[in-house]
Each structure stands twice: as structure tokens, then as C-alpha cells.
């Protein structure tokens, strides 16, 4: 560790930034509807907690905060693996990343949140034309037999 002094004012600054990151992650998790953005918001909350841990560890002058942050890092990697597997499964079932589709599995007796479609922000295309290259077809189209493609589908 560097020899400069880590005062409690520095600790306060680290804790404040960690708290802000945690709160913004909460907002994102509560209000966004895309499954992947919700997952990223949870990771943002973990980052805020990590800042808090590292600040406390530095303030108290021992390694425990950094060790805890390493453990959080590992658990975050595990969480990423499992949650992305779940996202893939949910996308395969509904062909959409919208979390509102899954509101039917909420607890019985709870009211459903209804989003009004007229509140949707209008889509603004980015200025400039999309410049995908146009490739002329080369060669002749291969013949695919029906039997072979049917076998591959199974």
C-alpha cells in the first residue's frame, strides 16, 4: 500500500461515490425493461459496494476489504454466467428481451403494472445513411436438397 495518509475525508468521498453508484443501479434495475440492462444495473450495484469495501479496507489498514472485493468479483462472474444462461432461455421462449412479458408469473392477487403505448418515446434514427456495403453475389447459388435440410433441422 502507498504510504500516503488515507484520512476519513477520503473514506467519506469513497463511501459517497459508492452510495451513488448503488442508488443509480437500483433505479436502473427498477425502471428498465430490457433484461440485459437490468443485469448490468445489478452489476453496477456490485461496483458501488466494491468501492465501499476497498475504501474501508484502506482506511482500516488491512487487506480484508480487498479480499472481500475479490470474492465479490468472483461471485459477479458466476452471476453473469447464470443470468446470461437464463436470459438466453427466456429469449428462446418469448423471442423478446422484455421483462414485462413475464409478469404473468407474479404472485397471485398483485395488480399488474400496465405500460401505456402512447408514452413510448418516438424513435429517432441516427443522422446519416446506414452505409452497409452492398456485395454483389458471386458464383451460383448452391442447391440444397430437401432431404438434407430436413435432417439438419432435426
Amino acid at each position: 500500500m502507498p504510504n500516503s495518509i488515507f484520512t476519513s475525508a477520503d473514506l467519506t468521498a469513497y463511501l459517497a461515490i459508492g452510495a451513488v453508484l448503488f442508488g443509480l443501479g437500483t433505479i436502473g434495475f427498477l425502471s428498465r425493461r430490457n433484461l440485459i440492462v437490468m443485469f448490468l444495473s445489478a452489476e453496477l450495484m456490485l461496483q458501488g459496494v466494491g468501492l465501499t469495501l476497498v475504501g474501508f479496507g484502506r482506511y482500516h489498514g488491512n487487506w480484508n476489504g480487498q479480499i472481500l472485493m475479490i470474492i465479490i468479483l468472483t461471485v459477479a462472474a458466476c452471476e453473469a454466467a447464470v443470468s446470461l444462461a437464463l436470459v438466453v432461455q427466456l429469449f428462446n421462449r418469448s423471442k423478446s428481451l422484455d421483462v414485462t412479458i413475464w409478469r404473468d408469473i407474479r404472485e397471485a392477487g398483485l395488480p399488474a403494472l400496465v405500460e401505456l403505448d402512447q408514452d413510448v418515446e418516438p424513435f429517432l434514427a441516427a443522422p446519416g445513411s446506414e452505409s452497409y456495403p452492398h456485395l454483389s453475389p458471386s458464383g451460383r447459388e448452391p442447391e440444397v436438397s430437401v432431404v438434407a435440410s430436413g435432417q439438419r433441422a432435426n
Binding site: 500500500m1 500516503s4 484520512t7 476519513s8 475525508a9 473514506l11 467519506t12 468521498a13 459517497a16 461515490i17 452510495a19 451513488v20 453508484l21 448503488f22 442508488g23 443509480l24 437500483t26 433505479i27 427498477l30 428498465r32 425493461r33 430490457n34 440485459i36 440492462v37 453496477l44 461496483q47 466494491g50 468501492l51 476497498v54 484502506r58 482500516h60 489498514g61 487487506w63 480484508n64 480487498q66 479480499i67 472485493m69 475479490i70 468479483l73 468472483t74 459477479a76 462472474a77 452471476e79 453473469a80 454466467a81 447464470v82 446470461l84 444462461a85 437464463l86 436470459v87 438466453v88 432461455q89 423478446s96 403494472l113 405500460e115 403505448d117 408514452d119 413510448v120 418515446e121 418516438p122
Partner: protein, 286 residues
Amino acid sequence: MFEIQPLQLIQCLIACLSGGVGTYLMMPHRRQFAKPGLVFAIGLGLILFAAGQLMMLGGSPTPIVSKVFFNIFAIASVVASALMITARDPVHSALWFAVVVLSTSGLFLLAGAGFLAAGTVIVYAGAIIVTFLFVIMLAQSEGKAVYDRLARQPAQATVTGFILIWCLLIVILSNPGNTYFQSGSNSSASLAPRLIPAKDLVNYKRLTATNPTYMVMGKTLTPEITLPDTIQATLPAGIPQPHVAGLGAAMYTTHLISSELVGAILFVALAGAVVIATPRVGGESS
């Protein structure tokens, strides 16, 4: 208990109010009074103002270079996280999260956690790339999807989140050890008395000295950064302690069981991800 200064209280309130309004304006939702781009710009300005207020609120390291870098990294992390949770395109969201991770690593570096900064960049950048690939493979919506352009209850969520942030900031700024207004305070002088109450957590002294639990607990509750004697003896006198050696020593002596548990969790997550994501042959789900 609450020793917060009135100036700090007002600054805290201003920061939370402007940040909350800015976040609400940046959320994807239809506003009737102006174009979406203008609303987004207003919200971003409010977020920047709130981040500046936050920087004035907390302290920052005293050397000027540390101060400059600390402010850069802190403002970048706060603003990028606000942009992350409000981005219309999930790809942009992932990229803003990468910015948050990089600036957080800078803050780790300023706190003396160099190994952790590198590890965060490596692990999170890897996770970000994986997420990014998933977004490209799955979504392909480029902000066109309805669920990306309509936040769910943005006002309620923002109010909830910023009340949480406000409470946390009040508690942090009013802690008894907050010596923000006493310049030149040296916290390392009173290190040992702060850590003595931790020994009350576990009444480990009842165990015999040869008990392994006693030895492990004694190392855990020792409030000092020490290398094991076998490593310490090989070092020439007078040089500062190597950083990664101390971290590794703490990890594989004091926190050995935690390391083993983390390895077990990795293995379980691997098996779980394989079980969840593998398509079932002959089942109803593809």
C-alpha cells in the same frame, strides 16, 4: 450522532434533487413539452451539476495530482452510470458500463489497490465483452424495440432511488469519525483502538493456543498488515512491503476457507449455466 453541517445538508439536498430530476428526464419516456434530444441534454446537464455538487460534498485526497485524478474518475463513474441506466440501445448501455468499470478501477488504484484495479479491468472487461456479444446476438434492435424506449414507472423508481441515495449520503456525512472540516487529521494514529471491538465478536480466547481455530481467529483479528514470518525474513530491511505478496498472504492464510468456497461457487455456477442453457433434446422448449 448526527453531526452533519447545515451547509453539507443543503448541498446534499441540492445534489439529490438535481440528480433525481436529471435522471427522470433522461429516462426513456415520452415528454410532451419538448423534443427527446433536448430533454436528454437538460437531464445530462443536471446530472453533471449534481456530480459537481457531490465532489464538493465529500473530501478528496490532499495531494494535487491525486485530487485531480480522483475528481476525474469520480465524476466519470457517476455520469457514466447515469448514462448507462438511461441508454436506449443496450449496446450503448454495455459500453457505458465499461466506462464505469474503468473509472472505478482508477479509484481502486488511488486507494492503493493496484492488483484489484487490474483484476477488475480484466474480469469485468471480459464479462462486458461476453454481455456485448450476447446483446449483439440476441437483441439486434438498435434502440428500436418498444421496451427500450419506455421505462417502467420512471418517476416512482427515480424518487425511490434518490431517497435511498439521500439517506445514505446523510448517514455517511454524519458519521462520528467524519473529520472533513478538521484539516490535517491523521487517521492511522488511532488505528488499533478502532479495531479492538472486533475481538468481542468472537470469544476466541477460550480456546487453547494449539487449536487451529484459535490460530486462524487470532490472525484474522490482528489489526495489522503483516506478511508471514517466513516471507518477511527473506526481505531486506527497510523496503516497503510488496503489495501483491501481502494480498496473497492474506488471501491464502487468513481467508483460505473463503477462497475454497469461492472456487466451489465457480464450479457450481459453471454446472448451473450448462444445465440451464443447454437445449433439451426432445423437450418442448428449443
